[in-house]
Amino acid sequence: MLNIKKDQKDDKLTIALNGKLDTMTSPQLEEEISGCLEGISELVLDLAGLEYISSAGLRVILSMQKIMNRSGEMRVIHVNEVIQDIFDVTGFSDILTIA
């Protein structure tokens, strides 16, 4: 299960994820972000409530990063140990700005 909470102030958008970002839930996030990143110059992805992420979730995060590379910046915050390990072994740590 995945809960997605969006909080927008002007051109800054925070997306907070709660639950699991896996094969079943990743399409949900993909759908949520489609179109809503337009005009956003600062995107914050808050993973405080995210238990785990599989490659299906990495795909969506990668596409978010690619969109934001063109139109602004993206930061990933509150990354837990398991998810940090996954970012490290996949090379995502070098791609993402993890604060």
């Binding site: 094969t23 785990y52 992420i53 490659s55 398991v82 996954i86 996949t90």
Partner: protein
């Protein structure tokens, strides 16, 4: 040895995860190892669901085994679909820039990085992928 058979559909991955988790909890598995195993279940079962049977329907058979002396957990995923060795897939290049990144093969790569041992066998008309992790 506990065993679960479900239809190979992504909608059934949660049932497989619950089955595995209930046994891992019985074995007092640390949360980190359990999470890594859950991710492996997602990667392996989504691959089988998407690719093993083409347009036809088939099953995923999951076998769980745990040795309390060595704390080694062994899980085998079997399907009777197209013969496919995921371990023969070239590892992704994790050093290429983000814009050029092709994410194919990332799932099984993650499994290999987080499990102690991953092995594949094609036997009696079935694919058998086994993961092992000391918990």
């Amino acid at each position: 040895m506990p065993e679960l058979r479900v239809q190979a559909l992504t909608a059934n991955i949660a049932e497989i995860t619950d089955f595995i988790d209930s046994h891992l909890e019985e074995a007092d598995c640390p949360l980190k190892a359990q999470t890594q195993i859950d991710i492996a279940v997602d990667e392996i079962c989504s691959n089988i669901s998407f690719y093993a049977y083409g347009p036809e329907k088939g099953d995923i058979l999951v076998n769980y085994d745990y040795d309390p002396d060595t704390r080694l957990c062994t899980i085998t995923f079997s399907d009777s679909g197209i013969p496919f060795d995921p371990l023969a897939v070239k590892e992704p290049d994790t050093t290429v820039p983000v814009e050029e990144r092709d994410i194919g093969g990332m799932g099984i790569f993650l499994v290999r990085k987080t499990m102690d041992q991953v092995s594949y066998e094609y036997k009696d008309g079935m694919n058998h992928l086994t993961i092992q992790k000391k918990i």
